[in-house]
Point group: C2
Chain length 147, copies 2
C-alpha cells in the first residue's frame, strides 16, 4: 500500500501542476484544497523541495511551485522519494537493494524471479505516468465520466 504521505505528495504535485507557470502557491491553500493536515503537508513539500522537485520562496507572497515541468515528474520518482522501494522484495529493488537475510542462493530463488517480473510490470506504468498525465487523465474523466 502507498502511505498517505505519498498520496498527499501526489495530490499536492497535481495542484501545483495545474498552477504551473503562475505565482507560487501557499501551503495552506494546497492543504485546504486537498484536505491534507497543514503541518504534515509542510513536511512533505519540504522533502520534495530538498530533492529538487519543488521551488520555494519564504515570506509574504511566497509559497511553492514546481521546479520542473509536470511532464518530467514521474510517479516512480515520487514513490521512491517518500516511501522508498517500489519492489515488493528488498532483493529485487533497483534503487534500494538489500539481500534477504535467510536467503541462501539468491540467484536461484524462484520467488525472487517472479517478483522481478512484478516489479518490471509496475515500473512500466509508474515510469511512464507523469504529473502531467495524471492531470490530463483526471480532466478526461471529469468530462466523459460524469452523469
Amino acid at each position: 500500500m502507498l502511505s498517505k504521505k505519498t498520496k498527499y505528495a501526489i495530490k499536492a504535485l497535481m495542484v501545483l501542476g495545474r498552477n504551473y507557470g503562475k505565482e507560487p502557491m501557499q501551503i495552506i491553500r494546497i492543504a485546504e484544497e486537498e484536505r491534507i493536515p497543514k503541518k504534515f503537508l509542510e513536511q512533505i513539500l519540504l522533502e520534495m523541495r530538498n530533492a529538487g522537485i519543488l521551488y520555494s520562496k519564504k515570506g509574504a507572497g511566497g509559497g511553492y511551485s514546481l521546479n520542473k515541468a509536470p511532464e518530467d515528474i514521474y510517479l516512480s520518482q515520487i514513490m521512491r522519494l517518500i516511501d522508498g522501494p517500489i519492489a515488493l522484495l528488498p532483493c529485487v529493488s533497483l534503487n534500494f537493494y538489500r539481500s534477504c537475510e535467510e536467503c541462501v542462493e539468491e540467484h536461484a530463488c524462484g520467488i525472487r524471479d517472479t517478483f522481478t517480473d512484478v516489479r518490471n510490470a509496475m515500473l512500466q506504468i509508474l515510469n511512464d505516468t507523469s504529473i502531467a498525465s495524471l492531470i490530463q487523465k483526471e480532466s478526461d474523466l471529469g468530462f466523459f465520466g460524469n452523469p
Copy 2:
C-alpha cells in the same frame, strides 16, 4: 513490500509442495529448513490451515501437508490471506475495498485510474503464479543458473 510473514508463508508452502503426496511434515522441520522462527511459523501455518489451504494432524506422526495441489495455490491468494490487499490504494482493491477518506469524486480520480492499471498488471502475474510454478522455476534456475 511483502511482510516477512508472507514471504515465510510462501517458502513454507514450497517446502510442503515438494513434499506433496507424502507424509505430513512437522513445523520444526520446515522451520529449520527455511530458517524461520518456529513459533512464528506455527502462527502462519495455522492461518493457512484455517483458510483451507493446509491440512494438519496433531500428535505423534502429525504435521502439516497441502490440502490442495501445488498447481492450485496462487501467490495472489497467499498474499491476500496474510498481508491483505494487493492493490496500492484501498479504493482500487478488489477484495478489500475501502474509499479514500479525503477523496471527493472517486470515479473521476486520475490517481485511482492509474493505480487500477498497476493492480491489474500485478495480478496478471500473481494470479498466474502457483506454488508449483515457483518450485519448477527454482529447479530450472538451479540447473541452468549455477557456476
